[in-house]
Symmetry: C2
Subunit: 350 residues, 2 copies
């Protein structure tokens, strides 16, 4: 098997570390790993297959000789560095939102719309974590019964906002536990105390147009869903809420179809979808604690929508947002590129 030089951009972040773990776990054919991060991380190392690999500064020159870039260092950094990597012949799989809705950039959930990879121009976008887990089952159900509407309420863990957000949840919760009558005070990453609280505000607000009043987290979920399913006119709406959970995003989803699809039929379709685990018993519903650290998307509570019993279903979808929503999907995209021979290996630099 060919072996590749793989750069991980944002290697010291929460998703960057998961990317390196998953490359190792899945035995991705890495010849050389190049962990890249900001200047202040230079001097640190990351563990990969038992080796300590030094972190290098994320400069354009660092992409010389790189075949695959897994980018997870923020939109502004991807905007600047992804074209530099592509210019040097690498394929960039980008976890940030920057390129997702660009018409010449495929937006891919591996196993859902791999076909979109075929015409990539060097950059492939990985959807938002909350979109990725939603997509795993929707595509097959669309093929089974014709999706006509999607309504999602999310319950998103703080790890979606990075390591510091997890620390803030810990600190804020400890504070609230020791001073139960006092509102938790630490308030750095989140706009409100997050300990024993929840916040219906992720990313910034849209202030005009039809999406006025939505957060960008919600518009990402809406627009990325349409793009991945190649259904630009699909009616989709979303409410995105941060909850005091460390890892694992959950979604309460209401879907409508062009023709009837019973809970039993939907379960059967889902159960045949790779990487999806469907609850077999009513009480066997997934929770974030069940999904954290695991690869599948878990779906439970599949039932008729009582407000639309003929053609509607409600369901509950849970996944590890750091894995399925980010790192795992990026590595799976890389695997699909390898399989379809869509990576042009680079000559090593002198």
């Amino acid at each position: 098997m060919s072996e590749y030089t793989v750069a991980v951009l944002g290697a010291t972040g929460l998703v960057g570390q998961r990317l390196i773990d998953i490359l190792e776990e899945r035995n991705f054919p890495v010849k050389t790993l190049k962990p890249l991060a900001s200047k202040r991380s230079v001097g640190s190392t990351v563990k990969f297959h038992g080796q300590d690999v030094p972190v290098e500064e994320a400069l354009p020159e660092a992409f010389e000789g790189v075949d695959i870039v897994l980018a997870s260092a923020g939109g502004a950094i991807s905007e600047k560095l992804a074209p530099e990597a592509v210019k040097r012949g690498a394929v960039v799989i980008d976890n940030t939102s920057h390129f997702r809705l660009h018409s010449d950039v495929p937006l891919v959930v591996a196993g859902v719309n791999d076909d979109a990879l075929k015409n990539h121009q060097g950059i492939i976008a990985n959807p938002n974590c909350s979109t990725a887990q939603l997509m795993q089952g929707l595509k097959d159900r669309h093929e089974a019964a014709g999706l006509t509407r999607v309504i999602v309420s999310t319950y998103q863990s703080v790890s979606g906002a990075g390591k510091e957000a997890m620390d803030e949840l810990k600190d804020c919760t400890s504070h609230a536990l020791s001073q139960p009558d006092c509102a938790p005070s630490r308030n750095d990453i989140f706009t409100r105390p997050i300990g024993f609280n929840l916040i219906p505000h992720i990313d910034s607000f849209v202030t005009e147009g039809d999406e006025e009043g939505y957060t960008k987290e919600e518009t990402k979920l809406i627009n990325e869903t349409k793009k991945i399913l190649a259904l630009p006119d699909l009616p989709v709406t979303a409410t995105a809420v941060r909850v005091p959970v460390m890892v694992g995003h959950s979604e309460a989803v209401t879907v409508e179809f062009a023709k009837p699809l019973s809970p039993k039929e939907a379960s059967a379709v889902l159960a045949s979808t790779p990487d999806v685990v469907v609850s077999q018993e009513l009480t066997d519903y997934p929770t974030p604690a069940d999904a954290a650290g695991k690869d599948p998307v878990y779906v439970g509570r599949i039932r008729k929508d009582t407000s639309n019993p003929e053609t509607g279903l409600n369901l509950w979808v849970v996944a590890d947002n750091l894995r399925i929503g980010a790192a795992l999907n990026a590595v799976r995209i890389a695997e699909a590129l390898v399989k379809e021979n869509l990576i042009q290996r680079q000559p090593a630099t002198a």
Copy 2:
């Protein structure tokens, strides 16, 4: 003003204590307070207007001479004791689910459908906490534009399951904080660890019929909404989720109307509703920490439903479940009964 003998059934519970606090705060015309609880609480006292009032055992005879019973000791106890109280001439305002869907029992949210009180037969039911807060704004919007569908995802605090549930959240969270790699183990009230987790399962599961797969918490929300709004055919669906929050229930709500209602119009309708506070700025959304300990229902994030922009709205509703959802509504019902002269005062026992 007439003064009443008021019994609080379940006086030592979380809602019972709030009931007594609120009777005091609102200066309800109490001549005599009778705190009633199970035998094991006899010997304890509750504070009321600076006095220590002894708890009495909740026996049928305890209702002799009582004008108003505020009942919050569980469905089985209300089933047994409410008729005993009515037989002795009292009006019972019941916080449990037992009588809510009985056709001869009005189900009332004060300020929403007080008219239903007029024909009471001695028992008046207080809706589920998650229903009560939803109703505050829906009725007026129904009158403004004709409700045609309601879809709700809840984010319900543990205090809805009582004091022990709050202790379990504290213990489970402390455990998880000190042993971050280990799943929290305490697991008494909830079916799964609740610390840094969430559980899409409140009350038991319905196992047959069109509501198969729903929890009773969800079917309560669905059926109580129809009854309170007097819209038996209104399409309603719900997903009810327990979140690691101490006090304050939140709801992501999608509503559809027969005719267009803009976010601005809906805000204006809501802002004119007593006891509802509407966010004036995008970033001014309510969280459970903001609502806990307060009386209003808070509504924010009012925006067009992007999946139904002509006649749909999304909104975010938060309230203190112990107050608006239970104790405060019960006391407000009692106030409405007093105002409308719907209580027949009892002769004092000898």
